[in-house]
């Protein structure tokens, strides 16, 4: 790789200020974009092959092109609700390089013909939202945001909107309801946001990392950008590595490098004497992979082919010191807590999965419970308005399939412990 794109200047002191950002070539891409037509900018985005960095991996240029043309009110919403467990890349970008995101938003809004934009940032990111607000004030003052930007005739308002703590608001339609001042319940799709989104108007929704990549694409040209990465996974990607590794953190990689290079080469792998038991390649919603899968290239298609997904690019490593049941319980409890309760398979399925896992742990489960638990996961997938239920069912299903023996052993050990009366004694202690 020629060098980092998003992380090129990331720790430059004062990069969050307009002075340092523009001193390092910032807002040049915006000038370049405004000097051409929106169609030309869109063509560059499409040529880049950039796929959404939030989780679904949908081609960004195509998403922009879905918005209807004409002079109706169109919206651009930046999804900065980063809540997928294990993911913390957007936080780094917003905190350290807020102007890069703002520049990306203005360029994308020009291509999409949007005149109003919002950054929906999760409420827990207090510092990052303050940094964005300060950067936005500077950008407005300098004429990069507002009426008739740099004399181009393009106008854009931008508001930093703070959420209040709800995982489901990272789901794009839940986010839209929340931004409209409601409970963040997902909507039925279609209609898709490109046709009927915020305030029922056409809306482009993109993740922070996706929009932050736009200035680099404008600078180097879509064609040039598309030379990075693999045939179907273009460009660079921020990967958040966490869990049992020696150097957890964010790394910018070229898509398609071996996963092992990320987990061991960059993040240092598990501690001496420990081995990788399983890893989530794309946040806690992604089906787990095993250590032999570490030789797979890290890109959208390779992860999908292996039965998992690249998701948000959050690699969570679990080493052999942790029982798989502990991992399953943590994951299932999280989705139970975050289910909005609108769809029955998700609301009930997450709850019963937690109960069954707890039964395994306290020695009241039978081997048949594993079958039931596996079938519950199958009945959730594809049967809800949004993918929150799937987000639990996929990793839990994968753990049952790949670590069945360990679940069975856990049931037997816990039952034997009950028979000898240890638990009973504990209960009366």
């Amino acid at each position: 790789m020629t060098g980092a794109l998003l992380f090129k200047d990331i720790d430059e002191p004062g990069l969050s200020t307009l002075e340092v950002y523009s001193g390092r070539g910032g807002y040049e891409s915006l000038r370049k974009a405004l000097a051409t037509t929106p169609e030309e900018v869109l063509a560059q985005l499409e040529a880049s092959g950039l796929r959404g960095r939030g989780g679904a991996g949908f081609a960004m240029g195509k998403k922009v092109s879905f918005l209807p043309k004409g002079s109706i009110d169109k919206y651009l919403v930046c999804n900065a609700d980063e809540s997928e467990p294990g993911t913390f890349k957007d936080r780094e970008l917003m905190q350290k390089s807020p102007h890069m995101l703002i520049e990306g938003i203005v360029i994308a809004s020009y291509a999409a013909g949007a005149s109003r934009s919002f950054i929906y940032i999760r409420g827990e990111y207090v510092h990052q939202a303050d940094v964005l607000d300060a950067a936005l004030a500077e950008a407005r003052e300098a004429g990069f945001v507002g009426e008739d930007i740099l004399g181009s005739g393009h106008s854009l308002s931008l508001v930093v909107h703070r959420g209040a703590g709800a995982y489901i608001c990272g789901e794009e339609t839940g986010l839209l309801d929340s931004l409209e001042g409601k409970r963040g319940n997902p909507r039925l799709k279609p209609p898709f946001p490109a046709n009927q989104g915020l305030y029922q108007g056409p809306t482009l929704i993109n993740n922070v990392e996706t929009l932050s990549t736009v200035p680099a694409i404008m600078k180097m040209g879509g064609e040039e950008y598309s030379k990075l990465g693999t045939e179907t996974s273009k460009g660079t990607k921020l990967v958040s590595v966490s869990g049992h590794v020696q150097r957890p953190g964010n790394y910018e990689i070229e898509l398609g490098i071996p996963s092992r290079e990320i987990v061991y080469g960059l993040a240092g792998g598990p501690e001496e004497g420990r081995e990788v038991k399983c890893w989530f390649p794309g946040g806690s919603s992604s089906p787990v992979l095993k250590k032999e899968d570490l030789d797979l290239p890290y890109d959208f298609d390779s992860m999908a082919k292996a039965g998992s997904m690249l998701g948000s690019g959050a690699i969570i490593v679990v080493d052999d010191s942790t029982p798989i049941l502990d991992v399953a319980l943590k994951v299932a409890k999280f989705y139970r807590h975050e289910s909005c309760g609108k769809c029955t398979p998700c609301r009930e399925g997450t709850n019963w999965t937690v109960k069954m896992l707890e039964r395994i742990d306290d020695g009241t489960a039978t081997p048949m419970d594993i079958e039931i638990m596996a079938s519950v996961q199958e009945h959730i997938i594809g049967n809800c308005l949004c993918v929150l239920g799937d987000a639990m069912a996929m990793p839990i299903g994968s753990m049952i399939a790949k670590f069945r023996g360990e679940f069975e052993e856990h049931i037997e050990t816990a039952r034997a412990r009950n028979v000898t009366g240890v638990l009973v004694h504990e209960a009366f202690a």
Binding site: A4, F7, D11, D90, E124, G163, G181, G243, H337, C340
Partner: protein
């Protein structure tokens, strides 16, 4: 009601094509004034926004950061999601709960992933992210909050550089903005 609160809510309402979008920032502002989303706080927001208190109560109960019961002034969210728990977050949460005890000043909660797994296990103390935390940090953490000092300055997330060794295109002077030096530029493990 407090006229500053009214002005703040009205300023939020003016930012959106549909003023109802201001519900979350308005409730957050009222919570800052009242300490929680009390019935009185909700009624005040409802009066300014022109919506029913019931509507706002329904909204408030949906979001984790809007408190619908009275709580301590200082919030300590200990992340106990997967990445933090793999690094000892459950013991950390128990230790913070025990140390804070019945002190009514504190609102200690176990929280879902706060997006800072690089400093796991971690906590958000009145919105300031600190980590990686050890059990030994707990007394200092609470003392700092009680005394109104910056919480564990050497462990604040804002002072850290990215872990990626290939980041940053050229050499530049060390960070000067924060008093604490980044403890470990490579983002080393706890």
């Amino acid at each position: 009601m407090n006229s500053e609160l009214r002005e703040e809510i009205e300023a939020h309402m003016a930012l959106y094509p549909d003023s109802r979008s201001a519900a979350l920032p308005a409730l957050e502002a009222a919570q800052r004034v009242h300490g929680w989303c009390s019935p009185e706080a909700i009624e005040q927001v409802a009066a300014v926004m022109g919506v029913t208190p019931a509507y706002l109560a329904a909204v408030a109960t949906f979001y984790d950061m809007l408190e619908t019961e009275p709580v301590g002034r200082h919030s300590i969210y200990v992340c106990t999601n997967i990445s933090c728990s793999l690094r000892g977050a459950d013991a950390l949460h128990a230790a913070v709960c025990e140390a804070a005890g019945e002190d009514p000043e504190f609102n200690v909660r176990s929280f879902e992933c706060l997006g800072a797994c690089d400093i796991a296990p971690m906590a958000s103390v009145d919105g300031v992210f600190v980590g990686p935390l050890t059990l030994d940090d707990v007394p200092q953490l609470l003392d700092d909050v009680r005394a109104g000092r910056r919480v564990l300055p050497a462990k604040q997330l804002s002072t850290r550089k990215v872990a990626d060794p290939h980041a940053n295109s050229r050499d530049f002077p060390a960070h000067q903005v924060e008093t604490a030096s980044p403890s470990d530029a490579s983002g080393g493990a706890a």
